[in-house]
């Protein structure tokens, strides 16, 4: 059964003293270009620079005392690694992090700063899972999945929850789709706290597994995932997929060119540093303008951890 309204409220109560209540920005020019009223929920200003701090915190707060003592382990292409490290440091427990060898250097450095203990592996899901399982056995650490865990999804839901507390009359919220943990949480928040608020996902054409999964009714994978939106290369899981099926209206696919164009607009006009993964949302709105015309649209800006030495412009 999918999580309840009460569980989302409990998650908010769990995380609210450990995470930033992030600002909501607007830009008259971006609203004008899109034909909609856009409200950007800026998780790039979250602690460690991404919404993942919310899910990680809720997952750790929910552990038993015995579990906390042994520590936690995860595999992540970047942001969740930082989030779990910082959340674990905050409550004083060890965090073991499996990272693909091609993860951005700025993300590896940040994990170390936050006290996470890194094990590198080949950049495949199989290699990540094997490395994490080994640590799980050796250290008796609790495995926390970056996106396919109920407590993580509930923690992620608190971003859209805050957005809807501030702007209760949003018609639509658009969220990036990667591993599915953010959009599932966003869907739950819109279902319980919105007023007929639809949730749409935005996904790179080059990593369109979620789009295909909603069409086929079962979890699809990406043979390749060659996208600048490096946070969106992962695939859905058995816990978040049913939530997405229930709460998400549909997914809009966007080209690499459109992602980079939207990224540039956000940097130039909002004057904020966001990840390419966050820009899929604006790219989707600009692609399907008629769908958003005249609407009040929330946008989840998922994070701002970019490698300045490898910018797409």
């Amino acid at each position: 059964m999918n999580p309840t309204e009460k569980e989302v409220l409990q998650a908010y109560d769990n995380v609210k003293n450990h995470v930033h209540q992030t600002p909501v920005l607007t830009s008259s020019l971006l609203s004008e270009i899109s034909g909609a009223s856009l409200f950007f929920k800026c998780e790039n200003f979250q602690r460690m620079g991404a919404f993942k701090m919310r899910g990680a915190t809720n997952a750790l707060v929910s552990l038993s005392a015995a579990q906390k003592e042994k520590g936690v382990v995860t595999h992540s292409s970047g942001n969740f690694a930082q989030a779990l490290s910082l959340a674990a440091k905050t409550i004083g427990i060890p965090a073991y992090i499996v990272m693909p060898s091609n993860a951005p250097s700025v993300k590896k450095a940040a994990v170390k700063t936050y006290g996470g203990q890194i094990t590198e592996c080949e950049p495949t899901l199989k290699a990540r899972e094997a490395a994490a399982q080994k640590i799980q056995q050796e250290k008796q650490a609790t495995f926390i999945h970056p996106s396919n865990a109920k407590d993580v999804i509930l923690g992620n839901a608190t971003s859209a929850y805050e957005l809807l507390q501030k702007h209760p009359d949003l018609d639509i919220i658009v969220s990036p789709v990667g591993g599915g943990g953010l959009i599932a949480g966003t869907g739950l928040a819109a279902k319980y706290f919105g007023k007929n608020c639809d949730v749409w996902g935005a996904e790179p054409e080059n990593a369109d597994d979620a789009y295909r999964s909603l069409q086929s009714g079962s979890i699809e994978t990406n043979a390749e995932a060659d996208t600048v939106a490096d946070g969106l290369r992962t695939t859905l899981g058995n816990i978040n997929f049913p939530i997405i099926q229930e709460t998400v209206k549909g997914i809009i696919l966007v080209s690499e060119e459109a992602i980079i164009g939207a990224l540039r607009l956000i940097w130039e006009r909002l004057k904020i540093v966001v990840e390419p993964s966050s820009a899929v949302t604006l790219a989707a709105i600009l692609k399907e303008k008629e769908r958003f015309q005249g609407k009040k649209v929330g946008i989840i800006i998922s994070g701002g951890n970019v490698d300045l030495d490898n910018l797409p412009f």
Copy 2:
């Protein structure tokens, strides 16, 4: 005689409904690195992306009806051109803008968006002044200097005024030094509204005219000004120099490497897009750490209009 407290308050009254009250950001990591408590006053979030909107607005509000009808003219390497164009558009008068041919393309495009009428000239002060004078005569437009005009300086003072309203106990405010209009305004605000609040300037080593001017007691120029901080290549003027002499404690020179390093820190840690000209401040604080140790330090982030195709990283 330098401007009075009453004149700063009048300027705030003139501009407050036309400009954004910009946010003040903090970063625990940047404060930790510096050994001081840093408060970033974010004029990059100002209308048109820079503090110059404040000075331009105050100058235009202060014009007579007859002057408004003929319009205004200025020469500017970028941000003031946008500011005057947008302020003029807001109150419905023409703005004629002389820009050097090597100004960043994003700045030229923005001037056009705001309705400014551009005349390009050679990138020398002499060519700029000649072109502006020609337009002044032909159109009977009022010349508004980007930095060396009392009303502009008073408008600029409203940024530090707002900062001190929010954080009245700042020990120091650090401002970039270019043409002198921002730091002169900052000095006035600190003098009248701070509690023993010192103002320090930060300037590129490669455009150290203001540093030398304070030493010699007369306005010095730059033979060359080859700095990534493109907003700081200009020199002081006869109206702002006496204010700077009276209200500024000193100027700290920073290398190009230090500017780029500080720029990177601000982008990566604060997640905001700021101009190289804004990063001289943090570079100065990190260079002379002992001076700022344990102090509450305000930083004027002057603007965020960068050309994403020409980033220094």
